[in-house]
């Protein structure tokens, strides 16, 4: 069968056309309006067909069939709402729940648990279970990032398939048989790879929970927004979870995008919420003596520093950019300096000295820990600027510039040699440093101005493949914070 051949079928009377060889589940997903309940099927993994939840009725077929492994045929009529299908769904849920501990009060998954969701959607039965539940080990330490509760597990085998197919680490297996079957790691193996949190994501129940989110916050307090991960040049699409009241960020999860990251993201990317919270943020401009300045004072001081270098016969001005900001910010600060100075500043692209820029782990994670390397190149080309790329800041120090305007890294962890580089800046006559970290690393520079982080600003990142992606702005953790353009507008 060729790829172009398509098959026409109806699901609950609605017509849908899918490529030949697709399954009913894929057809239903394409249709979008109908949901066939499922646990073990996952769009990013192979078909296991073990939960037996996605039962549908096919006209002319005596027994109910599973939607995830039944190939579509021309003219097939699928029924997902017939009485016996609904009955089958209820019983499938009952079978899943009879040995489930129902410890929702202490389970982090509660609120986003498929068992809970499906109980409300297709369940709502009175349980027939009157026997003792099977007890299994709980709260096991299976890796640096995950806690495993085998009692909550419904043995859908998503995690086993993820380890076998995506990371190819094969740490997990299902041991024993019958209702004693239990998920676990092989002897003396731990889940140690850069994609471990995905296991907590794909787990439809609370069997795998993330250690960094364990007991931190109930999910129903969290507000979800879409963004782009700033961890590396892959630019995975992410969902950012923030407490609706306190604005505190708690976690990142991957957002499905087949063009960029598919269904997954790496553990390094998951930690990109840590620098967003107010406890680590620089919240007001600081002067050379580390004293807080008002925004208007800071803008005035910045204006003076730039003005003092204006005119063709004055000293050099260096504009140091890290590829961690948006295209719009790059061009805004360049244009501002150019108009204020009456000439172009000398532009440097600051790259981490120790980076292995071209390394790639084969899945998602790239050695270029900057989300916008391509975007910076493109923006500079557009502005017609030839920039000097430097590894570390030695070259900037040697450039004899009288004033350096530095757009520092948003994710300081991506710049392990930050201390050494900032020491270079401290030697210079005047430095305006834009950064978002409260850390003391940049202390002592002439002026430090807080910047916004990726979740708080609108703008464009261009990933390693040249794909333009747009950031959406959330509320700022501190309402007083100003964006770079707002700050420059006041200067």
């Amino acid at each position: 069968m060729s790829q172009e051949q398509s098959v026409q079928l109806t699901v609950d009377g609605r017509e849908v056309s899918v490529p030949a060889g697709s399954t009913i589940m894929e057809a239903v997903r394409k249709l979008g309006e109908i949901e066939v309940p499922h646990f073990c099927w996952h769009p990013g993994l192979s078909v296991a067909g073990v939960c037996r939840f996605c039962m549908v009725k096919i006209e002319g077929v005596p027994k109910l069939q599973i939607a995830c492994n039944t190939e579509v045929r021309e003219g097939m009529a699928v029924d997902t709402i017939a009485a016996d299908v609904k009955e089958a769904h209820k019983w499938a849920l009952e079978f899943h729940l009879i040995n489930h501990p129902l410890d929702c009060p202490i389970c982090d998954q509660a609120g986003e648990c498929e068992l809970q969701n499906y109980y409300m959607k297709v369940g709502k039965y009175t349980s027939q279970m009157d026997e003792d539940k099977v007890l299994k080990p709980k709260a096991l330490d299976v890796g640096d990032t995950l806690v495993l509760d085998t009692e909550r597990c419904i043995l859908c085998s998503r995690c086993v398939r993820f380890e076998d197919e995506i990371t190819k680490t094969s740490t997990l297996g299902i041991f024993n048989r019958g209702d004693r079957a239990v998920i676990g790691t092989f002897p003396d193996r731990r889940i140690q790879h850069n994609y471990s949190y995905n296991l907590a994501d794909i787990c439809p129940v609370g069997a795998f929970t993330a250690k960094d989110f364990r007991f931190q916050c109930r999910v129903w307090f969290l507000k979800e927004s879409e963004s782009i991960c700033p961890g590396c040049s892959t630019g995975c699409n992410v969902k950012v979870f923030q407490n609706g009241n306190s604005r505190e960020y708690f976690r990142l999860k991957p957002l499905e995008n087949p063009e960029v990251n598919g269904h997954w993201m790496c553990d390094y990317g998951r930690t990109q919420f840590e620098h967003l919270n107010v406890k680590d943020r620089l919240v007001s401009p600081l002067g050379a003596d580390n004293s807080a300045l008002s925004w208007s004072d800071a803008a005035a001081r910045f204006g003076e520093l730039v003005k003092s270098q204006a005119g063709a016969d004055n000293g050099k001005v260096a504009l140091v950019l890290t590829p961690q900001h948006t295209n719009e910010e790059f061009s805004a600060i360049f244009s501002h300096l150019k108009s204020q100075l009456g000439r172009e500043p000398e532009v440097f692209v600051w790259r981490e000295a120790t980076e292995e820029r071209d390394s790639f782990d084969g899945i998602l994670f790239r050695g270029d820990r900057n989300p916008n390397t391509r975007g910076l190149e493109d923006t500079l080309k557009e502005l017609g600027v030839s920039a000097k790329e430097c590894s570390g800041l030695k070259d900037v120090g040697l450039s004899q510039a009288q004033l350096a305007v530095v757009l520092g890294p948003e994710v300081e962890r991506a710049y392990p040699s930050l201390e050494t580089d900032l020491a270079v800046l401290r030697e210079m006559p005047a430095v305006v440093y834009f950064g978002n970290h409260r850390s003391q690393a940049a202390a002592g520079l002439s002026l430090r101005v807080p910047t916004l982080v990726f979740t708080e600003k609108e703008g464009t990142y261009v990933n390693h493949a040249g794909l333009k992606q747009t950031l959406k702005a959330n509320a700022r953790v501190m309402p007083s914070l100003k964006s770079l353009t707002e700050f420059l507008g006041g200067a």
Binding site: L135, P137, R214
Partner: protein
């Protein structure tokens, strides 16, 4: 907005007027006063604070936390009370319990009693019978910190431990797990 014009009815003004109704009220007072003076009727007044009024068992007074039979807090920090609270006066910080059979427990459990509206939804929401509303109603005080009831205060204050005694211990067994939770798998151990 519509305006309703009310015209005074002169016929009723004498019967319903201020002076007439005041006199009727004074009459009732005098009648009751006289009856009670000569002990013809029982008085409803309680000589508080010398005499404490006893409310019914269903009275919803100040909160307390119940205990497990071993004396530990029953609360599992599920946040359902905090979620359900219309006044948002409950603050919980959850943590890993040192107890083997109990995974999660509240490191902090605080009720801002000044914001509390005593609706009792926290009691209703609790899946493990950990928070109840007691009979205390005299909660006046001066010290500033007393308005936020801490976990220790909710669990161990004298008024509760003395008046309730064993009743503070709830033996419902939902949140205490079986001993068999220890892993049977090689190389995997409970945290």
């Amino acid at each position: 907005m519509a305006v309703v014009n009310v015209t005074r009815n002169p016929e009723k003004s004498l019967k319903n007027g201020y002076l007439a109704t005041s006199l009727v009220g004074l009459g009732t007072t005098l009648k009751t006063f006289t009856k009670q003076l000569f002990r013809l009727e029982e008085s409803n007044t309680v000589q508080w604070p010398e005499v404490e009024y006893k409310y019914s068992d269903r009275f919803k007074g100040a909160h307390f936390l119940t205990k497990r039979p071993d004396g530990k807090v029953r609360c599992t920090a599920c946040f359902l009370c905090a979620t359900n609270c219309p006044a948002q006066c409950i603050t919980i910080v959850a943590g890993e319990s040192p107890d083997k059979g109990v995974e999660k427990y509240p490191v902090r459990f605080e009720i801002d009693i000044l914001r509390c509206v005593f609706c009792g939804y926290c009691e209703e929401a609790c899946p493990v019978d950990a928070i109840r509303m007691g009979h205390e109603y005299s909660m006046a005080g001066l010290a500033e910190d007393k308005w936020v009831y801490t976990k220790d205060y909710l669990l161990n204050r004298e008024a509760i431990t003395q008046t309730l005694g064993e009743k503070q211990v709830s033996e419902k067994d939902e949140n205490v797990k079986h001993d068999s939770v220890e892993s049977g798998l090689p190389g995997i151990h409970r945290k």
